[in-house]
Each structure stands twice: as C-alpha cells, then as structure tokens.
Symmetry: C2
Subunit: 197 residues, 2 copies
C-alpha cells in the first residue's frame, strides 16, 4: 500500500483538468462582472467558457464554492509598485494603480458583485476584508515611513490616511458617475496631505 504517495503531488496530472479550471474561473469572473452576484448562473458560466455544465460540477460542489474560487483568482491581478522616487512619487504611483484597477480591471468590474457577495455570505465577507487589508499594507507602510522620515507631515494616522486616499477612489467608483482618473492622483495627495509637503 503506497500510503506515502498520498502526500505527494501526482507526477503527471491530466492537463485537461487544470485547463478546464482556468477557463471556467475566467468565465465565472466575467459572469460576475456582467450580471452580478444575484444574477450569477452556472449555466451561463458554462456557455461563456464553452464547457459542459457537468464539467463545472465535476470541479466545484456548488455555486458558492465556484464564486469563492473566482474571487481568489482576482488576487493574481495584484501588480505592486516600484521602489524608486520620493515618497510622494511612490504614493502617486500607488494611487494611479489603484485607480486603474478599480475602474478598469476584472477586479473593478466585479467590485459591486464582491460587495454584494460579502454582504450576504460570511465566508466571502472574511475573504473580501482580508484581501483588502492585505492590499493596503504597502501603502500604509509607505505613509508611516514617510511620516517618520519627515517627508510627510506628522500627526496623522498612517492607516486612516491610507484609507482616506484609497477610500476616495472607491467612493468615486461606487457612488458617483465620475470615476477617479489617474491624472487626479496628485490633486488627491495635495488635498489629503497638503500641497506644501
């Protein structure tokens, strides 16, 4: 009985499996962006992916599991920032990137669906919050170190500052008809941190 093998990866897994998984996850994200959490239908995902419905149920037990995995795939979009320039320049780069992602990417298209899903399902909510907290860590660290070095004015809470900057971008995407444009990054920094810095 080759019990030990159970803990090793199969030497040559059938490539059809992983390919199906990726095609289906991409289709699921497209579906979430197109019709939202409430309108999400497995049959539409199958059609979108050019796949039989049975193939989806072969890989995921139900709709929620598929949605959770699709959200997980959004994390691959993460595209962190450079390491050169003044703190102000780095921060502007981050904000421009966030604006790009929130407005245009699969993440941005799925954002309302993610918010709705997080509101309805506790497991998705935990993931949603953790993901967002993780994504903001570099920004908070940058602000904290810039305050410590005197590049940014003292007396501000780095985390709250980051949330004010990032929050503005999300607010514009979700609550107004004028999404935040990368060109406004400098103005936003001036507004929140002051232009005299």
């Amino acid at each position: 009985m080759p019990t030990a093998l159970k803990h090793t990866v199969d030497p040559r897994p059938d490539p059809r499996i992983e390919r199906s998984r990726q095609v289906i996850l991409a289709a699921a994200l497209a579906e979430l962006g197109a019709v939202g959490y409430g309108g999400f239908a497995i049959e539409s995902v199958a059609a979108r992916a050019g796949v039989g419905k049975s193939t989806i149920y072969r890989h995921w037990p139900d709709k929620l599991a598929l949605i959770a995995d699709a959200f997980r795939k959004l994390q691959d979009e993460r595209d962190p920032e450079l390491e050169t320039g003044t703190p102000r320049e780095k921060l502007a780069r981050i904000l421009r990137h966030v604006a790009d992602v929130v407005v245009d990417s699969p993440f941005g298209k799925c954002l309302p669906a993610m918010i709705e899903a997080a509101e309805r399902d506790p497991a998705l909510r935990r993931y949603h919050h953790r993901f967002q907290a993780e994504a903001n860590k570099p920004t908070i660290a940058l602000i904290a170190s810039a305050i410590a070095s005197g590049d940014f004015p003292a007396g501000r809470d780095p985390k709250l500052t980051a949330q004010a900057l990032i929050g503005t971008i999300f607010y514009r995407r979700l609550m107004t008809d004028a999404p935040f444009t990368p060109a406004e990054a400098v103005a936003l920094i001036d507004t929140v941190l002051g232009s005299e810095v």
Copy 2:
C-alpha cells in the same frame, strides 16, 4: 365633462391605497437590506408586509419599479445638520451623522443592494448618483466657505476634500470589517485637514 378635475387631487382618496403603498415600500426596503438586489422577491415582500401579492402588482407594474420607488423612499431619511459652532465642529457633526446613516440606518443596510442595482440598471444608477451628489452639497459648501474664511487651510479642492472625508466612511463600511465610528470623526478631520487648523 369635468375635465379640469383631472388636474386636481382626488378630494378624498381611499386611505387604504396610501397605507398599502407605505407598508409595501417599507417591506421592500427591509427585503433589499436582508437579501439584496439579486435575491429580491416580490412574494417575500408581500409576506413581509402582510399583504397579498396582487396588491403589490396593483400599485407597481413590476419588480424594478418597486425597487426604484423604495430607493426614493430612502431619501426621507435625510437628517441634515445644525447651523451653530465652528466649521470644524459642523464638519465633525456631519461626519458623525454620515457614519450613523451608513452603518446603521435602512440606507446603510440597503447600500450594497443599491450599489449592485446601480451597476445593473441605468435608471437606478442615475438616481443613485444624483442622490449622492445632492446629499454632499452642504458638506462641500461648508468646506468651501471655511476655506474662504481662512478657517480651513487654503489650496484644497472642496469637493475632493468632501469626497475624501465621506469616502473614508463608505470605504470602511464596504471594504473593511471595521466600520467607521462617530468617535473617529475628529481623527478623520485631523488626518485629512491637518490637526493644526
């Protein structure tokens, strides 16, 4: 032919009609907050309101019209602010009020559903955006006048400043597990406008 009467209100409309309308709209808001835009079901609204389904269809042609009317009713929640105190105190009062509404009220409970609905339906989206823009006008005016009077530091865009403040509260509600508390209002003002003001 009493044509002119067409333009006047019926002298004594059946009170059952308006009563049904209000009960149903309140139930619709509760339903939106509880199950969201996608899960919204007319039959559940009827049960929640203690009303026959036919009564709902007697007053609204379909689901979307009912949802739109329910959103319109949220506007009644508006509870503007006082006129006394320093600009800083007024602003803190506004932010505390926004925090209350966004976290606790029917509006706050329906917020994810509204965002999702606005994403899917152009008419609801226009209403959603206009409502939000309208709600922010007093805040923007306050900031603008405080900047003009020298109470707030110059060089900031009042609208963007207001969006940074309000946006932080919405961001905390929608994207984190730590909703904004009224006690943080002063810290938020310090962070965005500087504590030296």
